[in-house]
């Protein structure tokens, strides 16, 4: 917790309150302990209090990993701040640990002197054994250097609900609400929104809703009445830009962005998808909005999802598929067909750890080259990447604009970190959303003898999107090479080269139709941090930090990965060293080297986890004063 100033006690709040700029809290427990719910409630309440927030949910791939084990630990981290923030925080100020496994797997992330709120009731010999602890960490001295608060949460929760006649099992389920209540007290949070949520979610099971409320209040009162805590904390509202905000997750923002893009282009949205972590929430979200004429189709497999999208695009819908790396691997052939068809559609890949099934619930950026090149033949596709949850909304609109203007499938890259993270999103006014104009050729008169050419091209090299049902424009498209203009099957060697070149040139020309690359920081200098995708927050925060320290460092974050921005080639030489942090082994670096013959420095992490800001700061500092560019 960054302490800024002290202040006097207030009525109804803890005896002593310290104003702090920001804090990072992680709730950790068994996957059955309700940590995700606890974390998201606390996040929402913090956002409602006006803080900027950023979250990082982290859960096991198994739905119910063995109870009490380290494999079953589920965590939810949130940073909330009085300043604008871009990451869920490197280090924890507060760790809530519901059992020994949660404690030992998370404690190393806590700052020295940080606060550990531990459910001491779950430290029996059996619990310790399940967690693989040979000694009790609460007693063996391993937590020296932290402020450990041992709380009998299970017992206190049971007591708070004991007259409601719940079974012990049900009563124990409420202990996450107890923990929540205690943390709410610690940060002076209002209970109202969570009480309302509790009513809405559990209201039809009245005794559960009542028990949750009791536990929540008991947690709050525990903080208020015991002498354990010498201080409460307060994080002032952040100075966010004026407007109305909603707390939004990446996948939800993508889904809403797609719906907005459909509206702005006057199209009905069709999503063809196959369930896959971490993309399924896009399917879930869109399935809920049938009254927006959103059609969702859960296909029999990834291939069918891709192919259904191609069919829907031919039919004139705004067609989208959402998947992750293994799904892209299966869709590859269909994506090639989409490229030769030159039909607009969106292919969303929410990246996760690979190869193969890899780490389904963990984040990674290792599918950039797969999306760039993973198809047979010369098969270019524009690629855009989302940098944070709220950005997903804008990227969806921009990707669809490009798809329709250039008549091409477009890839949107997200990742598990962006998809499941949440942050405040300033709700746009509909009138301010970009218009996306889509043109379909008009029917042709029966007497009109001029032939229709489905592969003729406009100034953007886009071909006409002629819809079935239009009289006079009947045509056939196929995966065999097309003759220029007519679209008829052609095996002519020169024609093939011309068509391959045209398709490539069309995608390259997109660079002239999108904004130039912006740089944050000095326009010339020692180090440029060049990043893409979900590492934005960590890179931006790290560069800001280094700028404040007086380093000559700047940050350029790429949204457009194919084609790369038109001015990037001119930007790179303005800096002596270019640092490319990536959650892979250097995929953007490879592209940059290939395109600009420019050596860059990599910072690579492949642990299924996002960058900590400090890791990037350390690297910037390490290379900044180094004489020889590495």
């Amino acid at each position: 917790m960054t302490t800024s100033a002290g202040s006097a006690p207030r009525v109804g709040l803890p005896r002593l309150i310290r104003d702090i700029e920001s804090a990072t809290v992680r709730f950790a427990g068994d996957s059955g302990d309700g940590m995700q719910l606890t974390g998201s409630q606390f996040t929402n309440t913090s956002a409602l209090a006006g803080n900027d927030v950023a979250t990082f949910p982290d859960f096991p791939a198994e739905i119910r990993a063995p109870k009490g084990t380290r494999a079953g630990v589920s965590g939810f981290q949130v940073q909330f701040s009085a300043e604008e923030i871009y990451t869920p925080g490197d280090k924890l100020d507060v760790l809530v640990a519901m059992n020994p496994a949660a404690l030992v797997t998370n404690v190393s992330d806590v700052v020295p002197g940080g606060l550990l709120l531990v459910n001491e009731d779950s430290f029996t010999d059996k619990d310790l054994k399940l967690a693989g602890c040979s000694t009790n960490p609460l007693e063996d001295g391993s937590l020296d250097g932290y402020r450990v608060v041992r709380i009998p949460m299970t017992m206190l929760t049971r007591k708070s609900v004991d007259d409601l006649g719940l079974s012990v099992k049900l009563a124990d389920r409420c202990k996450n609400f107890f923990a929540m209540g205690l943390v709410y007290w610690l940060f002076g949070r209002d209970l109202t929104a969570t009480l309302e949520f509790n009513q809405a979610k559990f209201g039809d099971k009245a005794e559960i809703a009542r028990a949750n409320e009791r536990a929540l209040r008991a947690g709050w009162n525990f903080g208020e009445t015991t002498e354990i805590f010498e201080l409460g904390y307060r994080v002032a509202p952040a100075q966010l830009a004026p407007g109305t905000y909603n707390n939004i997750m990446g996948n939800q923002a993508l889904a809403w962005g797609l719906m907005a893009a459909a509206r702005q282009s006057g199209k009905d949205l069709f999503l063809g998808s196959y369930p896959i972590t971490p993309a399924s929430d896009i399917l879930h979200e869109l399935s809920r909005h049938k009254n927006f004429a959103v059609r969702t189709f859960q296909a029999e497999d990834e291939i069918a999802a891709m192919c259904a999208v191609i069919g829907a695009a031919f039919g004139g819908a705004m067609a989208v598929t959402a998947t992750s790396g293994p799904g892209i691997a299966l869709k590859t052939e269909g994506m090639g067909l989409a490229v030769i068809f030159e039909l607009p559609m969106l292919i969303i890949s929410v990246q996760r750890g690979g190869p193969s099934t890899g780490l389904p619930t963990k984040t990674e950026q290792a599918d950039l080259l797969q999306l760039m090149f993973g198809r047979n033949g010369e098969c270019p596709m524009p690629v855009l990447a989302c940098r944070c949850p709220a950005d997903c909304f804008d990227v969806a609109l921009e990707a669809w604009r490009i798809a329709t203007r250039f008549m091409t499938p477009v890839v949107i890259l997200s990742d598990g970190y962006v998809a499941n993270g949440a942050e405040p999103w300033r709700i746009p006014r509909l009138a301010d959303l970009p218009k996306i104009s889509v043109h379909h050729p008009e029917p042709k008169d029966k007497d009109d003898e001029t032939p229709f050419y489905p592969y003729s091209r406009d100034d953007f090299l886009a071909r006409p999107w002629a819809l079935p049902g239009t009289p006079g424009l009947m045509h056939r498209i196929g995966g065999l090479e097309k003759e220029d203009r007519t679209g008829n099957v052609s095996y002519d060697p020169e024609n093939h080269e011309r068509m391959v070149t045209l398709r490539a040139e069309k995608v390259e020309r997109i660079a002239d139709d999108v904004p130039l690359q912006q740089v944050h920081g000095p326009q010339q200098g020692e180090v440029l941090v060049l990043s893409w995708g979900g590492t934005f927050g960590a890179c931006a925060t790290a560069v800001d930090h280094c700028l404040r320290q007086g380093l000559h460092v700047a940050h350029a974050h790429l949204r457009y990965l194919n084609p790369l921005p038109a001015n990037l080639g001119d930007l790179l030489p303005q800096y002596r060293k270019i640092l490319i942090p990536e959650l892979n082994r250097g995929q953007l670096r490879m592209l940059i080297r290939a395109k600009y013959l420019r050596e860059t420095i990599g910072l690579n992490k492949i642990q299924g986890k996002p960058f900590a800001v400090q890791e990037i700061v350390d690297k910037i500092q390490a290379i900044h004063d180094c004489q020889e560019p590495k």
Binding site: A193, M259, G272, A299, D301, I310, P468, G469
Partner: protein, 340 residues
């Protein structure tokens, strides 16, 4: 749509300007001709029809129809057609596939398209061979068939398209033969008129790689003994002199000769509208190699809920119940807060 208002189309108007490139004598020509022939009878304008195909000889079909068309990728035509039909229920959508395309690489898509009962007409050209890749055995090639990839004979059990379609809860299943042009036209027209997924298997001769695979069913001398033409409500009678029939013996069919105390009243009666598909399945199991005539005609034609129809109905329902979606409202759902 009332056909009275439409200009009368001719078969020639359904021919595209592309040269047909199948081998001379290929059974595909006949199927193409019958398709063009029945099209004007459907009363649907050219621009409202889409042919979708995968890869294989049969899959060139869309290029030859003057309608909209998609020549897709191997095995995926049912999936492409599903997406198209889901967003464009106003179109008549056809899938043209083959035994390799539809039952091998695309087996799963075919299965799901049928079980969803998409309002799509699927025509599977069964020539029991891979033609386009020049003569490997296919999933419908009989055991022991010697081909380029099975020099000692095929050792995998063949699939039977009609049995599979019925197993997928098909609401319309039929079979015809490329050279039985009148029958073929009738079956195609019935498929077009059926609401829901129509599955039609056509025995198609590949003159180059598997000539005479269906000789037993097409030769003047043998066909009447080897083919059983199904007619709704009629007993299962066949044979040169219509002297034979199919009777149930327990749960098994048997061939009987009429006379000597056996009359048509003892025979199985075809019922294409039977709610249970048992009869249709039984008919799909009649095999030439087992001493039975093979059935052609409509095996099954029943009403069932259609996916594309239900998909759009849910949208109307949701709009009626919750009103047409309002993005502004959606964006403000949940806990919002205002910064001034």
């Amino acid at each position: 749509m009332s056909s009275a208002e439409l200009p009368v189309l001719t078969a020639a108007q359904f021919a595209s300007d592309q040269d047909v490139r199948w081998c001379p004598g290929c059974g595909d020509y006949s199927i193409l001709a019958q398709m063009r022939r029945i099209m004007p009878r459907l009363g649907i304008p050219l621009e409202k029809i889409v042919f979708v195909s995968g890869i294989g000889c049969s899959s060139r079909f869309p290029y030859y129809m003057n309608t909209y068309g998609i020549h897709g990728i191997h095995g995926r035509a049912p999936a492409i057609a599903t997406g198209l039909k889901a967003v464009r229920p106003d179109l008549q959508v056809w899938v043209i596939t083959g035994d390799g395309d539809g039952l091998s690489i695309g087996g799963s898509h075919l299965m799901h398209c049928i079980r969803r009962n998409m309002d799509i007409n699927i025509v599977l050209f069964n020539n029991r061979i891979y033609g386009l890749t020049k003569g490997q055995y296919s999933p419908t090639s009989p055991l022991g068939q010697v081909t380029k990839s099975t020099p000692m004979g095929a050792i995998d059990n063949p699939l039977h398209p009609i049995s599979i379609a019925i197993g997928c809860e098909a609401s319309f299943v039929a079979r015809s033969i490329d050279v039985n042009i009148k029958h073929l036209a009738m079956v195609l027209q019935r498929a077009a008129e059926h609401q829901g997924a129509s599955f039609v298997e056509v025995y198609q001769n590949c003159i180059v790689f598997n000539d005479r695979a269906f000789q037993y069913a097409t030769d003047r001398d043998t066909k009447l003994d080897n083919v059983l033409e199904l007619e709704h409500g009629k007993p299962l009678v066949f044979g040169k002199n219509r002297e034979k029939g199919i009777r149930l013996n327990g749960l098994d069919p048997e061939v009987v000769t009429l006379g000597n105390g056996i009359s048509e009243a003892d025979l199985l009666v075809h019922d294409e509208r039977a709610p249970e598909p048992s009869l249709a399945y039984l008919l799909s199991r009649l095999r030439h190699e087992d001493g039975f005539p093979e059935a052609i005609g409509v095996f099954r034609a029943v009403d069932a809920a259609r996916y594309d129809h239900e998909l759009n109905r849910q949208i109307q329902l949701a709009q009626a119940k919750r009103g047409i979606g309002d993005l502004e409202k959606l964006f403000h759902t949940g806990d919002t807060w205002t910064v001034t």
